[in-house]
Subunit: 372 residues, 4 copies
Amino acid sequence: MSNSADRDDVLGRARVRDTAELEAYYDDLAGFETGALWTVANDIEPWEPTPKSAPVLWRNADLRAQVLRAIDLVRPEDAGRRVVYLRNPKRREVSAACGWLFSGIQVMKAGERAGAHKHAASALRFIMEGQGAYTIVDGHKVELGARDFVLTPNGTWHEHGISEDGTTCMWQDGLDIPLTNALEANFYAVHPDDYQVTNLPANDSPMTYGGPGLRPAMDKWDKPYSPLLCYRWEPTYEALQNYAKVTDGSPFDGVKMDYVNPVTGGDPMLTMGASMQLLRPGEHTRAHRHTGNVIYQVAKGEGYSIVGGQRFDWKERDIFCVPPWVWHEHCNTQTGDDACLFSFNDFPVMKKLGFYAEQALEDNNGHQILIT
Amino acid sequence: MSNSADRDDVLGRARVRDTAELEAYYDDLAGFETGALWTVANDIEPWEPTPKSAPVLWRNADLRAQVLRAIDLVRPEDAGRRVVYLRNPKRREVSAACGWLFSGIQVMKAGERAGAHKHAASALRFIMEGQGAYTIVDGHKVELGARDFVLTPNGTWHEHGISEDGTTCMWQDGLDIPLTNALEANFYAVHPDDYQVTNLPANDSPMTYGGPGLRPAMDKWDKPYSPLLCYRWEPTYEALQNYAKVTDGSPFDGVKMDYVNPVTGGDPMLTMGASMQLLRPGEHTRAHRHTGNVIYQVAKGEGYSIVGGQRFDWKERDIFCVPPWVWHEHCNTQTGDDACLFSFNDFPVMKKLGFYAEQALEDNNGHQILIT
Amino acid sequence: MSNSADRDDVLGRARVRDTAELEAYYDDLAGFETGALWTVANDIEPWEPTPKSAPVLWRNADLRAQVLRAIDLVRPEDAGRRVVYLRNPKRREVSAACGWLFSGIQVMKAGERAGAHKHAASALRFIMEGQGAYTIVDGHKVELGARDFVLTPNGTWHEHGISEDGTTCMWQDGLDIPLTNALEANFYAVHPDDYQVTNLPANDSPMTYGGPGLRPAMDKWDKPYSPLLCYRWEPTYEALQNYAKVTDGSPFDGVKMDYVNPVTGGDPMLTMGASMQLLRPGEHTRAHRHTGNVIYQVAKGEGYSIVGGQRFDWKERDIFCVPPWVWHEHCNTQTGDDACLFSFNDFPVMKKLGFYAEQALEDNNGHQILIT
Amino acid sequence: MSNSADRDDVLGRARVRDTAELEAYYDDLAGFETGALWTVANDIEPWEPTPKSAPVLWRNADLRAQVLRAIDLVRPEDAGRRVVYLRNPKRREVSAACGWLFSGIQVMKAGERAGAHKHAASALRFIMEGQGAYTIVDGHKVELGARDFVLTPNGTWHEHGISEDGTTCMWQDGLDIPLTNALEANFYAVHPDDYQVTNLPANDSPMTYGGPGLRPAMDKWDKPYSPLLCYRWEPTYEALQNYAKVTDGSPFDGVKMDYVNPVTGGDPMLTMGASMQLLRPGEHTRAHRHTGNVIYQVAKGEGYSIVGGQRFDWKERDIFCVPPWVWHEHCNTQTGDDACLFSFNDFPVMKKLGFYAEQALEDNNGHQILIT
Ligand SMILES: [Fe+2]
Ligand SMILES: [Fe+2]
Ligand SMILES: [Fe+2]
Ligand SMILES: [Fe+2]
Ligand SMILES: [Fe+2]
Ligand SMILES: [Fe+2]
Ligand SMILES: [Fe+2]
Ligand SMILES: [Fe+2]
C-alpha cells in the first residue's frame, strides 16, 4: 500500500476494497451512465493540488531567431496572427503555456497590418522590441514602445500593425484562450470591414486615463475592463522606484505593483491580472506557493528563479512560467542594478471563484532545496 | 475542403498551407517547446462553442433501485459518502455529469452518520425522499425535507446523517469538483474530531435568515456565500405560485426564481447557482441556448424537454442535463397541474468571468426540429 | 470659567482671550465676509454631539381623535394630503418630528383618493388601522393591511386611496423632507394626469419579490431602492418569532430585524431604514446611544422606554422618538406576551457618510437613572 | 394672490383656506406637539430648491494681508488652528462658506507646529504659498508644495507644521464641519501625546499610491477614504494637458478631472470630492446648475465666472462659491494661456443620498443674462 493510500485509510476518505459483488455492481452502474463515487473519490478530492503543467524557461536567445524566421515563411494575412506560441510539454493538448493560459511571441515588420477581429477570450501584450507598433482596440489606437503593457479585452475589436517608418517589432501575447475553451465559451468574429476605421486621436486612452489619482469628470465608463489600454514602461518603472524608497517590499516578491483598472482599482480584465516587480541588487526572495498560473517575462536585468526545486537562470526578454501550488523564489544576481519581472496571471479567476490559496515555505529558512 | 474549412478561408483566420519548409520549421519549433500558432489557431479560436458533454436523462425508475443496492454493499464510514454518481458519457475522464459539474445520488439509512470533512469545492443538495435527514455545516444543523435545497459551501466543515427514528433518505448532490480540479485548486481535510460538536439550536440558519425582505439587525455576515443554508420547498413553491399570478414568465423558462443569498441578493455560492421553475399546465417554452452547464431534477409533475434536438420525457425525480450552447425547450404535458423543475448551474462562473452568452432560437417559431 | 471651558483649556482647542486689538481685528475680518476660526472653533467642533431634538411621546389616545376631526375639516383634494404631523418642540422651524425626519398621521375615508405626485424626498408608511387602503407607486398598486410597512421611494409617482367598500384608514407617514430641504435638494411635481393609470395586476410587487431567499430569474431591477414596496405584517411577525427561538437577541434591542431590499440585502431606500423588533415578556434591554434619529411606533403590546433619563409609557399605536446620541432602553411590561416596536431611522445617511457611532452604557449595570 | 400661490392652486398641492374653525383646530393640534401638514406643505415641499447661501468672491488681494496679521495676534497653540474662515453672509449661524461646507485660510510660519487632534469631520487643504509645510495624517508625513491637494480624512489623527528652514505658508482648508454638526455627528479628541511620533518615511503615501494605473501588490487598504493623501500639482497639471489634447471637454466645465481614491476609483473621502479643471485660452463655458455646494480656488490664470447672474472676476488664489441650483458659467479671459480652477464640493453626499440633479441652461445660447 502506497504512502498516499495509507493517508487515505481514515474516516472521511474512500477505503472500500473491491469484491466480486462490487465489481458486478459497478458493471451495472456503468450501464446507466453512472458510477460508484468511492471508486474515484480520493482521486477527484485530493488533499491538495498536484501540478498539471511543467515549469519551463523559454530563452530569448533561442526563440528570437525562430520567431524572426516566421517573417519570411508566412504573411499575417494568411496566418491570422504571426505568432510562435509557447507550448508547455504537459499542456500540449490545450496549446497552453501554463495551466489555462496561452502565450506566444508575435512578430511584424514595418508596414504590415493584421486584420481586425474579436473573441470572447481576453488578450494582453508586453512589448519586447522595435519601433512603430500600434494596436487599435474598439477604435482607440495606441502606439507601443518597449516594455509597455497593453490590453485587448474580451469582446473588443482589435488589430495590430507597424507603421511604414517603423522597424520589425516583437511582443509577447498572453491570452486566456485555453480557459475560454475549457469553459466552452469562446466566440470569434472577423471585422465586417477587415480593418477598423477611426477618427479618435491616437493614444486617447492613455492620455485620458493615464494620470495618477485622477478621473475624467465626464467619464461614464462602465465596461468590465480597464479604459486604460496601455500602461507605459516609464511611469511604471518610476512608480516602482518611488515605492522602493518607502517599503521593505514583500518577502516573496520584492517591490511589486499590480496593474489596475484606474476606474475601479481592480483587475484590468475579467480573467487576467498583470504585475511588474522590482528586485533590488542581490535580493533573493523567500519561497512561497499559491494557486493560479503565472507567466513571467524579464523586463530588466538578470538573475534566476527556483521553481519546484529547479533553478532557471534568466536575462532580459526570457520567459518562464510558475504552475499552481509549486514553490518558487526569485533572485537578482546583479550587485549594482535592480531587476524587473513583468508577469501575467489568472489570479482574477482564482479569487472570484474563491480558489486562491497561498502558503509560505517554512523549512530551510524559506528556501527550496535544489533538485539535483 | 470541408464546410468549416471554407468558412475559415478569410482574412482574420489561419489559412497557411503546409509546405516542406514549414514542416521543417515546425519541427524546429517543437524542439524549443513552441509551435506555430497558425497550425492550431482555428481550432483554439472556434467561431462558437461546440458541446463537450452529451445531453443525458437519468431516470429515477432506473437509478433508485441501483442506489438502494449500495446500502448493503458499502458503509458510509468506508465510502466516505455513499453516492452513485452521474457519469456523462463524454466526460468520464473528469467524473462529471455535465461540463465541469459533478452530480450524484446519495443514500443513507436511519441512524447512519458520515464523518465531517471540508474541501475547496462547493456542494449543494436537493432532497429526493425520506424523513429524518440532517446536515451540519460549520456547526449549524439543518433538518431536511423532500424538495428542500441545501448548501454546503466551499471551505465549510460538513457532515450528514439520518436520525435514529428516520427512514432511508436519498438526495441529489451537486458539486463543482471537476472545475476545482481543472483549476488545480482543490484541497481536502477530514475533521480532527471526526464529527462536529455543536450547541447551536437546530435550524438556526433558516430560522434566522428565512424571512422575506428581512435581515437580523445584529448580522455581521461577511462570508462569500449565503448564511441561509436551507431553502424550504413550501415557501419556495408558494412564492412561485404567487409570482405566477402576476407575471407572464419567461418565454424560455416559464415562471422561474433563482435561489439567492438573502444578505446580498446574489448567488448563494461562489461557483454555483440554483433555480426552481414552474411550467403551467400545458406550457411549452420556446428554445434558447446559452453558455454554462445546467443539471435539472424534476421536482413536481411530468413532461419533456428537447435538448439538442432530442426529446427527453421526464417525471418526478428524474434528472437531466443541458450542456453549454445546446438548444433546449421544456414542456409540461399535464393539462391540470403545474410542473416544477429544480436546477443547478455554473452560471456564476460564466458571469463573473464575462463568459455568459445567450441566444433565442428564431427559426420554426422558436422550436427545435427533432432529430430522428 | 465653566466646566466645559475648563475642558477646552488644552492644546488642540481654541483658548484665545479677547483683547481690544483682537476685537478690532474681528471687525476688520467681518468686513471681508470672514471671521477668526478660534472664536467659533470650540462651538463648531464639540467634543461630542448634543441633542437638538427633544424626546417626545405622541399617544394614540390623544392623537386619534384629533386626526379624525380632520376628515370633516379638509378634503384630500385641497390638503394635498390629509395629515396631522408630529412637531418636535425643538424642531418646529423645520417641521420635523426628530432631527431631519418628518412624520405624521394620515387619514382617509372610504372612496377617497388623493392625486399622484412625486418628489425628491423619500416616504414610507406604517399602517395603523382600517380596511381597503391602497397606494400606487409608479403604476404598482399595493393593498394595505394593518401593520404593513410600505415604501414610496424618492422620485416615484405615488398616490393613495381607500376602496369604496373600505373603512376609514389611518397610517403613519415617515419622510426625509427636512433633510432634503436642508440639503437644498427637494423637487416636486404633480402628475400630468392627476392620477396614474395602470394595467399591472394589484400587489404585483409583493407577489414578485416577497418570497424568502428567491429572486425572479428575469429580474433586471437596477433602481436605488427596493422593488419590494410592501412588507406584510404576518410574515414579518412570523420571522421574528422564528428568529426569537434561535437567538438571545441584542442586549439593547431584543430580537430585531431590519427591513431590506431583497435585491441587494441593503437599505430599502437611500436615506431611511426601518426595523421591527420584538421584546420578550418582561424583557428590559440595556441602554445604549448612537448617532441618527429613530421614530418608533408600537406595533404590539405595551411597556415603556427610557429616553434621555425620561420614562415614556407606551401601548399600541403610540409613537415616540429617540434623538441622536441620547441614551435609550426599552421594556416590555407584559408578563405573558411579546411586544413589538416598529421604527424608522436615518441610519443609511449616517452610515454612508461615515457618521454612525454607537456606545453602550457601562454604569449602573447598563441602565439609566431616571431624571426626577 | 402671488404667482407662486397661483402655481400652488392645483390638485396635489395644499390650498386650504383658513377658517375660524380651522384656526381652533390648529390651536388644539399645537397642544399635542402636532400641526396640520397642509399649513406648511407647500413650504416644505417646494417645486425646486431655492438658494440658502449667497454667491461670494473672496479676493486674495483682500484676504492675504488680513490672514498675515493673525501671525502676530495669535499662536497656533492657543488658537488650535490659526485660520481666517470664510463666512457666507447667509450662513453665519453655521459658520459655513457655502451650504454645509466650511472653508478658511490657514497660515503658519517657519518652525511652528500645531498639535494633533482628530474629529468626525473630514478636511482637505489646497496649498496657496510658501515652502516647508507638512502635514502628518495617522503617522504619514506629507511635505506640501504650492497647488498640492491634501487630505485629512474623518477620524484620522492629524497635525500641521512648517519646517525650521521653511517660509510662511498659507493654504485653504475645506471641511464638512457644518454638515457634521447639522447631522449631530461631530466628535473631537486631542492626541494623548499632543503630537504624533512616527517612524514612517516622509511622503510614503504619495510614493506608494501616486503611480498611474498601479497598486502595491501587498496593499490591504480597506478604509473608507483614499490612501493617497496628497495629489501633487505637477502630475495633475500634466494629466490635464494630456487630456486636453484628446477631448473637447465638457460644455460646462472645460477639461475637468476629479481627484479619486486610486484604490477604488471613487471619491477621495466620504463626504467631499474635489476637482481640477482647465479652461483653454478664451474658453467661455455654457451655464448649468446642479444640487450640491462648490467652493473654487483659482489655481492658475485669470478670468471670471457668472454665478446666479452676477459676474465675479478672479485671478490666482481668489476663492468663490457656487451654491446649490444656481446657474453658473466660467470664462478664461486670457488669450495666450490656460486657466485652472481647483474646487471642492459635497457631491459625494448628494450622490449617495440620491439628491444629485443637474440642468443645462437652454435659453440665450446657454448664457446667463447679467443682473444689473
Ligand atoms: Fe485576437
Ligand atoms: Fe508567487
Ligand atoms: Fe463534502
Ligand atoms: Fe436555459
Ligand atoms: Fe408624497
Ligand atoms: Fe438604539
Ligand atoms: Fe482638524
Ligand atoms: Fe457646475
